[in-house]
């Protein structure tokens, strides 16, 4: 398996060198969103696809294909097995992809079986409570959990061991809660569904991404206790960071793409350049702002290192709390 992929890559590289007289021009680009319409990956494909075409960075409208299954694993496996050399294929990815790879939820597939190309923004994690909640800041909430972990249940949109769950674990670890596993987390179908449960006081807190809670926050129905970013967000400067409250916890859900493993370095570099152009455009800045995404660009070999580090971190965290053995 591994050997055939390496030789495939070698073949593709040789082929690319032979034909590298002209730079790569994308045509009939397809973007796979590894989930049903409506989620973050779908948004990534559709908004990036739209702007790529609006800016004439690609000649035709980008075709978005939804390929749900296995939390992104089906699309990951499909890209490896069926589209290994397709230069006109982008697949949406995020922290959810890397955290599943880290916890071996893609049935043995590895991060190095695709080519990571770039991240275009990040959605920072937020911890929020109902407006009537007794917890006024992150310290209150963490103290309550330390005193009695069963009193506070967190709701979130991802499964157990998924990104929304990991965010709480990051904070709990920073708060020095020894048995992070005791922190209660209940998984709902989406961040929005978890929020509804918070409004009805069925859970005491939610971990979501900033984009998910914007509407309710603006309406004053919920209170954001902390954002898990290095500094306060320019779009929502009133939310304090966890860091300034004394908890060294960062949780960035980056959004970006990977390409099939077998594309040439040329193609990889061209896509990097195209996506960088998109990243710098006003259209993308507007889309980011509207969706609560913070600037978070990573491209080229830097992004590979970032992904590896990301996976190593999640692995360590999951082992610390016993989700992974």
């Amino acid at each position: 398996m591994k050997k055939s992929i390496t030789s495939l890559a070698a073949f593709a590289t040789a082929f690319a060198i032979a034909g590298s007289a002209s730079a790569f021009d994308p045509s009939n680009v397809e973007c796979i969103a590894p989930a049903n319409p409506g989620g973050g990956w779908d948004f990534t494909c559709r908004s990036v696809g739209k702007i790529l075409y609006d800016l004439k960075l690609v000649p035709e409208p980008v075709k978005v294909t939804n390929m749900p299954g296995g939390g992104g694993g089906v699309a990951f496996g499909y890209t490896i097995a069926k589209r290994g050399k397709d230069a006109n294929l982008l697949v949406a990815a995020s922290t959810a992809t890397t955290s599943r790879l880290a916890t071996n939820q893609y049935a043995g597939l590895q991060a190095n079986q695709v080519r990571w190309v770039a991240s275009l923004g990040a959605d920072f994690g937020v911890i929020a409570v109902n407006k009537d909640s007794p917890y006024k800041n992150l310290k209150d909430l963490m103290a309550a959990i330390k005193a009695n972990p069963s009193k506070v249940a967190f709701g979130g949109g991802s499964s157990v061991g998924g990104w929304d769950h990991l965010k709480i674990l990051i904070v709990a670890k920073a708060a020095g809660i020894a048995d992070a596993k005791s922190v209660k987390y209940v998984s709902f179908n989406s961040g929005g569904a978890a929020l509804t449960q918070l409004l009805g006081n069925h859970v005491q807190a939610v971990t979501g991404d900033i984009s998910e809670i914007k509407g309710q926050l603006a309406a004053g129905k919920i209170r954001a206790l902390a954002v898990l970013s290095p500094e306060r967000l320019p779009t929502d400067p009133s939310i304090p960071t966890a860091k300034e409250q004394g908890f060294d916890a960062i949780g960035a859900n980056w959004r970006g793409f990977y390409l099939p493993k077998g594309v040439s370095d040329d193609v990889h570099a061209s896509w990097g350049a195209i996506l960088e152009k998109l990243y710098k455009s006003d259209d993308w800045k507007k889309a980011m702002e509207a969706n609560g995404l913070a600037p978070f660009y990573n491209g080229g070999p830097m992004f590979d290192d970032f992904v590896s580090q990301n996976i190593a971190d999640v692995k360590q965290l999951s082992m610390d709390v016993g989700l992974l053995k």
Partner: protein, 498 residues
């Protein structure tokens, strides 16, 4: 009245030539998508999202187009249920219980016309509810926590016994099979794979739409092949292509009851249109059945059709007012709103009134358009029955394959569909009804995840099931649903003796 002023503003937006034209086109395209087995409203809307972008439509126009597609698909789902005994989408499953027997009795035209009117009544009442009751309903929706949802689904299952008359034990076997199929996939609380045989495609469980197309369409084709070989084919007649006023009046009560139940189920983000049409049918059967249900009682057609269309309108309440999708389709609409730089949620009506009210006004319009469109179309749809079966059946098979492949681009799903189809054929051979199987698949997963959530919230204490007044009310309904039929039967028998 603030609401009426808003609505008037909405009609100004909706009646511009562009928006009106889009609503017409959307209604037509939606009906078509809904009628095709496999493709439902969520797919129809998702397919047209790129079109909305490519045309560079303003947000309210894009939303009007897609909402018209949504309503249209809910209308369209009934057609193949009635004509072919194959549900066009998930909520149309209940439509075939009475609709198809009507078609077999030569009343296909009447059934199509009646169900079109029922859809109109359900969708219009829901839109009125959305206009005037949205803030109130949101308060109701947030009362439902995991425990309450679990009891709600339990209530649905407590009524399943009444579903398909004659043989109650076979109905229970069928729903148990459905519940078992619903356990395929990753365990919702611990991520442990169950019955997946290492196949990543099964991690998310058996897709209900694959189950529906397999169980109904593929098994129908197999049964058809068998009857051809045995030479037992029956020809359908079509008597007329309209519903009489008397028929409509006879079903008026059923439509109203179905609309109310469907709407409530639609408003609850964790319930949805499938539960809505199921509740509408079973309640109607409880209420009106004098041995006529299952044999083409028009009231059993009107209630679930009104119910599933009302649920579609109801699902827009949490979408607009909370920013939470009440169904797969509203999830797509929500994503569209977000990518158009609109933040859904409680402030939508204040910040972007043209979007919120324009959408609601266009729903009223789309509904009228759909009714006008669907009544003459009955004439065309009934011709389906005159298509020679050697053309019709291969076409149905082709559409099933295409429809399933178009959703996920996966050949594996096609194999699954065929497998489930053969399973459905075998069930038919031993007279196990298919509808309870599909209800087990559709509702079982929700029931399980909510039970698991409730118990993890309460640290495993069952007391959470009786904590809220709402939970206790729902339990009371369950007790009533299990005992009242026996009491009524006892009273009737006593009267019969006297």
């Amino acid at each position: 009245m603030e609401t009426l002023a808003g609505l008037a503003h909405g009609f100004d937006v909706a009646l511009t030539p562009l928006n009106f034209g889009l609503a017409m086109f959307g209604a037509f395209a939606g009906t078509l998508v809904g009628a095709l087995p496999g493709l439902g409203p969520a797919n129809g809307v998702a397919i047209l999202v790129p079109l909305a972008f490519t045309l560079g439509l303003p947000p309210e126009s894009a939303l009007i187009l897609l909402a018209a597609v949504y309503y249209g698909a809910m209308y369209g789902g009934r057609i193949s249920s009635i004509m072919l005994n194959i549900p066009g989408d998930e909520p149309a499953v209940m439509t075939l219980l009475e609709g198809n027997p009507m078609a077999r009795q030569g009343k296909a035209g009447a059934a199509l016309a009646l169900s079109a009117v029922s859809s109109f009544v359900g969708a219009t009442l829901a839109t009125i509810g959305l206009t005037f009751l949205a803030p109130l309903l949101v308060e109701l929706a947030i009362l439902f926590g995991p425990a309450e949802y679990f009891i709600l689904f339990l209530l649905a299952f407590s009524m399943i016994g009444t579903l398909t008359g004659k043989n109650v034990s076979k109905t229970f076997i069928a729903s148990a099979l459905g519940l078992m199929l619903a356990t395929i996939g990753l365990d919702p609380a611990t991520n442990v794979p169950r019955y997946t045989f290492g196949q990543m495609k099964l991690f998310d469980g058996l897709d209900p739409i694959i189950a529906i197309v397999g169980l109904f369409a593929i098994s129908e084709v197999l049964v058809f092949l068998e009857t051809v070989v045995l030479g037992e084919q029956v020809k359908f007649k079509v008597e007329r292509t309209y519903a009489t006023f008397k028929e409509l009046w006879f079903c008026a009560g059923a439509m109203l009851r179905g609309s109310v139940l469907g709407f409530i189920c639609g408003v609850l983000p964790g319930a949805g249109a499938s539960l809505g049409s199921f509740a509408a049918y079973t309640m109607e059967k409880r209420y009106s059945d004098r041995g006529t249900f299952g044999k083409g009682d028009p009231r059993g057609l009107a209630a679930p059709e009104a119910g599933n269309n009302a649920a579609a309108g109801g699902a827009l309440v949490p979408m607009l007012a909370l920013g939470v999708p009440g169904s797969g389709t509203t999830a797509v609409l929500l994503a569209l709103l977000i990518s158009l730089n609109i933040t859904p949620g409680p402030l939508l009506f204040v910040e972007r009134p043209e979007v919120a009210w324009g959408l609601i006004a266009s729903l009223y319009m789309a509904n009228v358009v759909l009714l006008i469109l669907n009544l003459p179309l009955v004439n065309i749809f009934v011709r389906l029955l005159m298509v020679p079966t050697y053309v019709l059946m291969p076409t149905v098979t082709l559409i099933c394959f295409l429809g399933i492949y178009a959703i996920s681009h996966s050949v594996f799903d096609i194999y699954m569909m065929i497998g489930v189809g053969v399973f459905g054929y075998l069930l038919r051979k031993v007279n196990i009804p298919l509808v309870p199987v599909i209800l087990g698949v559709l509702l079982g997963h929700h029931m399980e995840v909510n039970l698991r959530r409730a118990l993890s919230l309460s640290d495993g204490e069952w007391e959470i099931m009786f904590r809220s007044p709402l939970a206790i009310t729902l339990w009371a309904f369950i007790i009533m649903s299990l005992t009242v039929p026996f009491i009524i039967r006892a009273i009737r028998e006593r009267r019969g003796e006297q």
